[in-house]
């Protein structure tokens, strides 16, 4: 099955059995392709005794730990075909992931993203406010997760402004003008969860006390990047939404789950508050003791599969996040596919012993 064939299908239209057939066909094909074209990947498969004849279901396809992309350069295309290298947002001193994209995979990422997001905001482009600063997308060869997210979502904007300047200050005048110009129209806002809270919400709150308010009741906010940084602020998801609503009247807010290692296949949060898997990808939760598949409702380590990656062997990955599958094909929002929630990062338990390398790796 080619990716074009998958692209022709509506993102949340397939029932379980049809989707499984599609994924099994496409992902076994990708496994074969990467095995043939990425020597390291082939070696890893051999070391774990992989036999393609035994794979009857996409859930049996081996997964690589996401952190492997920080340790090894994994490519399934010649170097000269690489048009973009995406990097993960590692904190200082930490190794960063390198994800190599050729033209085809990169363009499929974008097409997929458009198909998924259109299901939530409609297919026409709308005025867009990016809740970040312009400098984050300056280097177009090396994309950070934040930069990639912004550029990815920018295709939905007809006219775009950055809400923050490079010193992370809210540009009140520019935003007022923008909102005035598009008054009464649907407006898309996009940003990373922590940035939205720290540099947008808090500033709006302060301005409100000074009598300056913005009306974003027609806005749709899409935010991602996880809640980890907000733990320190002790903000729950519910609170995040209600406080934002209070301060600027925004009603439509969608979180999403995604990662640079599988750009394009994002998991959007629906109107019922659930993250959804589209037909382009899937989530499987696994038990820490033996990686067996969890039941619905049981917390496990999240494995993600994506039908997109052809230029790097990232079609089946074990994340370091924990999540819970809430159900399949029966979310009240009407979308088919699995819906789930992300609980957080796997706890990095303190281990005994004299070696301090382990701790250093995580700090």
């Amino acid at each position: 099955m080619t990716f074009e064939e998958i692209l022709a299908i509506s993102p949340y239209s397939l029932e379980k059995n049809e989707k499984y057939r599609l994924l099994t066909s496409r992902l076994t094909e990708l496994t074969r392709l990467h095995r043939q074209n990425c020597p390291e990947y082939a070696r890893i498969l051999t070391s774990i005794g992989y036999n393609s004849d035994e794979i009857l279901d996409y859930k049996q396809i081996p997964f690589l730990p996401v952190r492997l992309f920080k340790e090894l350069s994994l490519r399934s295309v010649p170097k000269e075909d690489v048009v973009k290298t995406m990097t993960s947002s590692g904190t200082t001193g930490q190794a960063v992931s390198h994800i190599y994209l050729d033209k085809y995979t990169s363009s499929n990422q974008q097409k997929t993203m458009v198909k998924i997001v259109s299901e939530f905001i409609g297919s026409s482009r709308v005025p867009m406010i990016i809740l970040d600063c312009p400098s984050v997308v300056k280097n177009r060869i090396m994309f950070s997760a934040r930069g990639a997210g912004i550029l990815g979502f920018s295709i939905f904007g007809s006219n775009k402004i950055y809400a923050l300047d490079d010193s992370m200050k809210l540009n009140v005048e520019k935003i007022s003008e923008f909102l005035e110009k598009y008054r009464g129209q649907k407006i898309l806002l996009f940003g990373f969860t922590f940035m939205v809270w720290q540099h947008f919400y808090k500033e709006l709150l302060r301005l409100k006390q000074d009598g300056i308010t913005f009306d974003l009741s027609e806005g749709i906010l899409i935010h991602g990047g996880g809640w980890k940084k907000l733990v320190n602020e002790a903000v729950s998801q519910g609170e995040f939404y209600s406080k934002l609503n209070e301060v600027c009247g925004i009603r439509k807010i969608h979180d999403y789950y995604g990662m640079v290692e599988q750009t394009g296949c994002i998991y959007m949060q629906c109107e019922c508050g659930h993250l959804h898997a589209s037909i382009f990808s899937d989530v499987i939760t696994r038990r820490p003791i033996d990686f067996s598949e969890c039941e619905v409702g049981e917390k496990g380590i999240i494995q993600v599969v994506s039908t997109i990656p052809e230029s790097y062997p990232g079609h089946s990955l074990l994340t370091e996040d924990e999540g819970i599958i809430l159900g399949e094909d029966d979310c009240a929002c009407g979308r088919k596919g699995k819906y789930f929630k992300v609980v957080g990062r796997i706890e990095n338990a303190e281990i005994r012993g004299c070696s301090d390398t382990y701790a250093a790796k995580f700090n």
Binding site: I48, G49, P288, L318, A349, R352, C354, Y358
Partner: protein, 398 residues
């Protein structure tokens, strides 16, 4: 120079005691005072309700009990005119709670004044032991009070600098990074320094002898060598060398029995499965001939068709084992490098065989050769140092 101690917490001792240390007389090795102190400390710990909850505190208390120390002492009785060097400044590791007490024991039994800096991590064991030490010093062994300080401080390099400038021995327990960071801080010209760095250890098992042993006992012993410290101590076995005729049969029984032990006793932390997955992937990308055997994530084995020079770069923990089968014990010489600390053995002639290898090849590693199950036994000889000797000086005569 007036040193500030505002950010220093004294778990044992005080600022005044610390400031006086340069003027306190050293003691002979195995002095009466210190032996008495250790015996009382042992007794108090063994009867302390809180201490009893910790296996590692009990192991330490047992190691320093009166009879045990007297036995060790007999080995050193002939060492006359041997006295401490002065102040022993020790930096305890961040991952083994009781190591600070073990280090202190080495320092004082050798006649020194002991200052230990413990990790910022708050281990219950550290608090419990320090409380008991304080009690013993106040109630029964007041004469030793000037000899012991246990401190904790945050990123305050000035304290480390000051202690380094006055000490006669500096002992650093920790990873290679910690050691090289502290090494940048200078010490007095005659000060001696011991770095207890990151090491690896391995086991050699004769399959035929194993098949004659009690499988359950061996499983327990091996568990203690490895899982008990999350297989992350220097002494933890990372690689098993199998020799003999019935290797396959022995392996099956060995791992099945270990699995029973592990499934009952070991709590695998959630990240371990993917950690091990990552190790195997990185290793396989370089050495495609390896084979991973994974029953579940608590026991992951990597079969090596040959011993690579960089095998130990891929070592893992929490139950991640390399295995290599050979008919020729000499093939393991390549592994006995500087970083190799302990070789445990199971097999009738192995102790001699390994000693012979070490001598014959003049290898740079291997500081201990002990029976399987004894890798974490406490000892006054550690990392190749006979500590009561290394940490003391002898007043020679004609």
């Amino acid at each position: 120079m007036q040193q500030e101690f505002d950010n220093v917490t004294f778990l044992v001792g005080s600022k005044d005691i610390l400031m006086q240390m340069e003027h306190i007389p050293v003691l002979p090795i195995f002095s009466d005072k210190v032996r008495e102190f250790l015996a009382i400390l042992s007794d108090e710990l063994l009867h302390d309700k809180q201490a009893k909850q910790f296996g590692d505190i009990m192991a330490y208390a047992f190691w320093i009990r009166g009879a045990a120390i007297e036995k060790v002492y007999t080995k050193y009785v002939s060492e006359t005119h041997r006295i401490g060097r002065g102040i022993a400044f020790q930096i305890a590791p961040s991952n083994i709670p009781v190591q600070f007490a073990i280090s202190m024991t080495y320092a004082i039994i050798s006649g020194n004044i002991s200052v230990v800096r413990v990790s910022r991590k708050n281990f219950r064991q550290v608090d419990i032991i320090c409380e008991v030490i304080k009690r013993v010093l106040t109630e029964k062994c007041t004469q030793l009070k000037p000899y012991i300080c246990v401190l904790r401080y945050d990123h305050d390099e000035s304290v480390t600098k000051w202690l380094s400038s006055i000490c006669d021995i500096r002992m650093i327990w920790g990873g290679d990074n910690t050691i090289s960071m502290i090494r940048q801080i200078s010490i007095q010209p005659r000060c001696i320094e011991l770095g207890f760095a990151d090491r690896y250890s391995l086991a050699v098992i004769n399959a035929d002898d194993y098949l004659k042993s009690d499988f359950k006992v061996v499983a327990k012993d091996f568990y203690n060598d490895t899982y008990y410290t999350d297989q992350n101590a220097c002494s933890s076995t990372r690689l098993i060398i199998w020799i003999g005729n019935q290797i396959e049969k022995a392996q099956k029984i060995f791992w099945d029995n270990l699995a029973c032990e592990v499934n009952i006793k070991y709590k695998l932390s959630e990240i371990c499965g993917s950690e091990k997955l990552l190790k195997t992937a990185i290793c396989a990308a370089k050495h495609p001939e390896i084979r991973e055997i994974r029953q579940n994530n608590a026991i992951v084995r990597i079969e090596l068709p040959q011993l690579y020079d960089d095998t130990m770069d891929f070592k893992g923990n929490c139950g991640y084992f390399f295995e290599y089968a050979t008919s020729n014990l000499e093939s393991i010489v390549s592994l006995l490098k500087k970083d190799c600390q302990t070789v445990t053995f199971l097999g009738e002639t192995l102790e001699d065989d390994i000693h012979k290898l070490v001598d014959l090849y003049g290898v740079r590693g291997v500081d201990r050769i002990v029976p399987l199950g004894h890798s974490i036994d406490l000892s006054f000889v550690w990392d190749g140092y006979d500590l009561p000797i290394t940490l003391s000086r002898v007043v020679g005569n004609a």
